[in-house]
Point group: C2
Chain length 250, copies 2
Amino acid sequence: MILITNDDGIQSEGIKILYKEIKNKYRCVVVAPDRERSAVSRALTLYRPLRVEKINGDFYSVDGTPTDCVNLAVNSLFKSKIKMVVSGINKGPNMAEDVTYSGTVSAAMEGLLLGIPSIAISCSAKDGFIFETSAKIALKIIDIVLKKGLPNDTLLNINVPNLRFEELKGMKVTRLGKKKYSDTIIEKVDPRGKKYYWLAGEEIGYEPLENTDLEAVYNGYVSITPIHLDLTNYNVIEQLKKDFGAIKFF
Amino acid sequence: MILITNDDGIQSEGIKILYKEIKNKYRCVVVAPDRERSAVSRALTLYRPLRVEKINGDFYSVDGTPTDCVNLAVNSLFKSKIKMVVSGINKGPNMAEDVTYSGTVSAAMEGLLLGIPSIAISCSAKDGFIFETSAKIALKIIDIVLKKGLPNDTLLNINVPNLRFEELKGMKVTRLGKKKYSDTIIEKVDPRGKKYYWLAGEEIGYEPLENTDLEAVYNGYVSITPIHLDLTNYNVIEQLKKDFGAIKFF
């Protein structure tokens, strides 16, 4: 059985279209937050009980985070084994550094930690989302993952350009890119004479690096990025041993 | 000027002890959340204004996330340039996969994204924190970082055993480890006859991997892990190109 979840909430159009596409071919359930939980942390809800509500048919809502949904669905709610976790379709891209705080990717991370092949899928647009294209891509990738499996400790982060299916240029296996942001902060005074600040920084482009998710999607390709949970920068370990080893700490 | 922040909130003992230690040697300011913001996301607060309150002397509180604090401090609050970001001392360790949702590390990530040498420091205990040891270690590491700089795109995640300074065994440059969790979920019925779930999974040890943060700290060593923001699993890109390239998508 395939588990579908997201961070936009169970009422979102993206998850409904994804469900419709997948259930044509596979048995699946939807377990998703009862409301939008974008940019929530990956932490599990441990300090209070969670409620699960059966909405209808295969749809269940949880008053928790995407991570909670995956944990409950895999460890408690169903008798059938969850053989894959699919998170999405997110309304908006999850690329570059954004992956480190994406709720959509979080859910797939929890699937990965529980030992289940997991993917996250996002539609790269601000509005006018063509979710049908992303759903078709999701199904094709699910077919491959169920057949071939995924490398150890790795989930797939998929971003789909907001195009009709026939307009897509193709697919690329990519690495995470780097965005550029402006640093604008607006400083104003409120009606009671007290100062306030509004962070107004925005994306102003991206670093021109090759083979990145940003480059692929902005050029009309579906981007598939292999993601792991290890943030260690292995390349600098030896240098740091020198820099810090020379100094007597004790 | 050194910026000190955290996710436990400006009232926490850890940040006060860290400030006291650093200001003996360097000019510094504390800009921290007005209350506990552990396990918050790394996202900036964009949908509402932020208030900054000068508490006293060098202490400023912000009604936002650790990431907001760093962004405001670096881009707006002060005329002096911030030459380093120090996040902590967290009450509790930030090791292994926990780093991906740690508020303490988030703040250092924001510093890194803004191009400033950044470190996160945590005291590995559940209670009875000996923050003084961590503060001393922090100052020694700050000395080195200000003198030698840090490798590109890299922050340091430091975890200190909860020992007196003389009891420390030494220091190790490490990679992130892997914890083991139990999957327990408790299913109960509330006084009104409605079912609820309580996630009761807990840490039940760690994978016996060498040179990890967990191994170092549990054996009495200070752990310094170089962290970057790139979650790409480069090792599997070629394999995925084969697995997914063979299939005709279009």
